[in-house]
Symmetry: C2
Subunit: 107 residues, 2 copies
DNA sequence: CGTGTAAGGAATTCTGACACG
DNA sequence: CGTGTAAGGAATTCTGACACG
């Protein structure tokens, strides 16, 4: 396994919201709102505190840019869905590739 | 530039002590004590909260193992100093290597 | 020496809501 | 729609200290 995306630390949800504010320049209100609109998906700690990954921070900076460009959260939501579609077609290709590699000798 | 160590997110100090506890299994007391003994060096946020990097977390797990083996913090402190010496000799070599590369054509 | 703990205070985060537009 | 804010509470983190060993 191991595609171009791995990096381990990039996806670990360990950053609390205050630090994310410093990193992104966004307010807590904004960050929570983007979650409500399903643009980001922080983990929750035992007692309910939001934890973000570096990847989430990057996503938030993208969101901040798009919002500045006048886009609405609903439009950003669509973009995300499309990326998910992209991903699954990539996955399909990967699986097809593996199958090909696996059965090649039998042809 | 750019040695084998880069990884960007690995060294960013963004994790608060509670999360570090979860990640390492150590108590806050232990983590603060290892700082007092100069084995780790968290950053401080505006209002004085400690922030750790993933690299710090790894260091702490090493420390935890060594402590279990019965080592003292003073001994671990020495190990760290030695690593710093290693690093500067590596740096020396890198610089020497670059100088060599730079002046090779003149020889 | 290394770590637990109670103490008191300050800062963090959470939720639900009202406000403006 | 997106975001600010005051409200009240719960959880987090901080420091300095006493304790045991």
């Amino acid at each position: 396994m191991g595609s171009s995306v791995d990096n381990s630390y990039m996806y670990k949800k360990v950053i609390s919201i205050g630090t994310v504010c410093e990193l992104t320049g966004l307010s807590e209100r904004q960050i929570r709102y983007y979650e409500e609109r399903e643009l980001i998906f922080p983990k929750r700690s035992e007692k309910g505190n939001r934890k973000y990954s570096f990847s989430d921070v990057e996503t938030l900076m993208d969101i901040a840019n798009k919002m500045e460009d006048g886009l609405q959260t609903s439009e950003l939501r669509r973009e995300i869905k499309n990326k998910e579609v992209d991903k699954s077609s990539v996955n399909e290709r990967m699986i097809r590739g593996q199958l090909n590699a696996h059965f090649r000798r039998r042809d």
